[in-house]
């Protein structure tokens, strides 16, 4: 079966432009070459701290940014033109801030009609029928259509955002922190809705988040991003039960747990390396408790350690039960 989404060596470098007299400066590497495959009907979680390139990756996937190198293949068809109209029918984006992703001057009906008109060229009657169908799917009331975005709560607005993404009839949804702006109680509602929709419409999700609990709950597989590259990739249950990369372990230990005092897992510098002046070797070495001289010289590549579980580390943590890979 062809994978729903295949990225090959996808990378993004933002140019800095040249100084007035000097030579052209090297750009900022937001995403280092990433190779990923997402099977149909799968949910791939993408985890990482702020500034690690999650959103840049997502924006390349929907054609909002042109990749510097590499190719994107959606359902077997290569799309590397960064043409949003071509991407729009296959892959859609759900934004982090639900209210800000809806134009405050337009009614919900106008917002919902835009993708139907632009991507599918439906007439008025078809649009009304389709919108009614989608609103039933996301359990929104039809009376909401004539209202303006500011009249909705975050959860409702996020459901409208999801409805808009569904209207394009894309089979793949990029969910860019879809619940992190919502109340915890509303998060569950939206996550359940996403799970139902996935089962019903055979969707594929790319779920970007920094909330580990949420990612673990919804994802089949998880990719951990650090400084623009994938450092660990594996099944959701493996990743947090037995992390192999020290960074994943750090992430898991940093997450607050109800009933446990919050202790910072690392006392040292906790900043990402400077993207303008990337360190030699492994990007994580400055924060890594297991760093050796080798880490300062060579850059580790993603290597399969166990069945379906890969990490980019010279000194992976041994799994609790079983031999080190």
């Amino acid at each position: 079966m062809t994978p729903a989404l295949r990225l090959e060596n996808l990378s993004k470098t933002f140019p800095l432009g040249r100084t007035l007299f000097g030579p052209e400066r090297p750009g900022v590497r937001a995403v280092h070459p990433v190779t990923l495959e997402v099977a149909r009907g799968e949910t791939l979680g993408i985890v990482g701290e702020s500034g690690c390139g999650k959103s840049t990756l997502a924006r390349m996937l929907v054609g909002l940014l042109a990749p510097t190198t590499g190719s994107i293949e959606i359902e077997g068809a290569a799309l590397d033109t960064a043409d949003p109209a071509a991407f729009g029918k296959r892959i859609q984006y759900v934004f982090q801030d639900p209210i800000s992703s809806l134009n405050p001057r337009k009614t919900i009906r106008q917002i919902m009609e835009a993708p139907l008109k632009l991507l599918h060229g439906m007439d008025r009657a078809q649009r009304a029928a389709r919108i009614a169908e989608i609103f039933d799917l996301v359990s929104l009331r039809h009376e909401f259509l004539d209202r303006y975005p500011h009249e909705f709560s975050g959860g409702q607005a996020q459901r409208i955002g999801i409805a808009r993404a569904l209207a394009a009839e894309a089979r793949i949804l990029i969910l860019d922190e879809p619940v992190s702006a919502l109340d915890v109680s509303v998060q569950a509602q939206v996550l359940n809705l996403l799970a139902d929709l996935k089962a019903e419409l055979d969707l594929t999700y790319l779920f970007i988040s920094h909330d580990l609990a949420v990612v673990e709950a919804v994802s089949d597989r998880i990719a951990v991003l650090y400084f623009g590259s994938v450092v660990e990739l594996g099944r959701a249950e493996d990743i947090f039960r037995a992390p192999r990369h020290p960074y994943t372990k750090l992430l898991a230990d940093s997450a607050p747990v109800v009933g446990r005092a919050l202790t910072p897992p690392e006392a040292k510098e906790t900043e990402l390396p400077d993207p303008l002046d990337p360190p030699k070797g492994c990007a994580f070495q400055a924060r890594c408790p297991r760093a050796t001289a080798q880490c300062g010289q060579e850059t580790p590549t993603l290597a399969e350690l166990a069945d379906g579980h890969a990490a980019a580390c010279f000194h992976p943590i041994a799994p609790p039960d079983g031999p080190a890979g």
Partner: protein
């Protein structure tokens, strides 16, 4: 539980009661957008009063001459410098021309100049602002152009414009229309800069908002993006510039007339009347007050009108 029927059914049908709980508020019947805009506009008292005053001034100035039929250029030298009376409610000037008639004739010009010059400045300013904010490549050149216009000394520029274009325009359109076009264009192209700067700033911020990205991700073209997503959201600063622009245009026109660059001396405008009257300020202070009050009232009422319109057109404010 004020409704007795709900009270009766609630114990029997707990599921329905829970379903009813999710209906947080009763839904008002849908109304047309313009009815809601009018409702919000009505609730803004200043805007309502401003609108009424502005309409009154416009009507008085344009319909008044049909009721008050004295020719504003008719010289009645025996009645010169008379104070308010039944024959001349606003008095007469040093040549015995009726001030009320001159006020109405002057108002026509002043309001027409104010509105047209404002529209021109707004069009130019919004266009340059949107283009500069939206297309990064054009941002630098257009903003430097704006700086250039801001740095140009206004009066020498106007002098040159009048010198160069007065005669050809007079020949092409006749003396009155010709000078009207000249003044409107002169004011328009020298007062669009603040609008352009404000609009550019807003567009820069809006462009990065997620709804713009969302629209882009379904293949909205740049033109549609500007027309449907950017422009409606920069309406507020444009409205504010518009109301300030009318005032600015009326006052600039007055200054030009005073310097002899504007309309011919016998052609009344509010600015002209004001400056003619300053010579007699000590003997006849009321002559300064008529045009002064007219200019202030127009400017103030337009400001309130614009304020109310801006609020009424913004769904976030209208909803409250």
């Amino acid at each position: 539980m004020t409704d007795p029927s709900t009270h009766e059914t609630a114990p029997d049908a707990p599921i329905e009661a829970i379903a009813a709980l999710t209906d947080t508020k009763p839904l008002a019947p849908p109304r047309s957008k313009w009815a809601e805009v009018w409702d919000q506009f009505k609730s803004h008292r200043g805007a309502l009063v401003g609108g009424i005053i502005f309409i009154t001034i416009v009507l008085a100035v344009f319909i008044g001459p049909f009721l008050w039929t004295i020719d504003p250029t008719y010289i009645d030298i025996r009645a010169r410098n008379s104070g308010p009376s039944w024959a001349h409610p606003f008095g007469t000037d040093q040549l015995g021309r009726d001030t009320l008639a001159r006020m109405m004739a002057g108002g026509q010009t002043s309001i027409a100049v104010g509105l047209t010059a404002m529209a021109l400045a707004l069009l130019l300013g919004s266009f340059i602002g949107v283009v500069a904010g939206f297309f990064r490549r054009l941002d630098g050149p257009l903003m430097r152009l704006t700086d250039l216009f801001l740095a140009l000394p206004l009066l020498p520029l106007l002098l040159v414009m009048v010198l160069l274009f007065r005669e050809p325009l007079n020949k092409a359109f006749g003396p009155e229309t010709g000078i009207f076009i000249l003044i409107v264009v002169a004011i328009g192209i020298t007062s669009w800069m603040p609008t352009a700067r404000i609009v550019r700033g807003d567009v820069l911020a809006l462009k990065e908002r997620e709804f713009v990205l969302a629209a882009r991700s379904i293949g909205t073209t740049n033109f549609q993006l500007i027309a449907r997503h950017i422009l409606p959201n920069v309406m507020s600063p444009i409205m504010v510039s518009a109301t300030l622009g009318i005032a600015n245009a009326i006052i600039t026109e007055s200054a030009l007339s005073f310097l002899g660059l504007g309309f011919p001396p016998d052609f009344p405008t509010w600015g002209r009347l004001l400056f003619d009257a300053t010579d007699y300020l000590q003997q006849y202070p009321e002559r300064v007050m008529w045009p002064g009050a007219a200019i202030s009232l127009t400017v103030l009422s337009v400001n309130y009108l614009g304020d109310g319109l801006r609020d009424a057109l913004d769904p976030r404010i209208r909803g409250r």
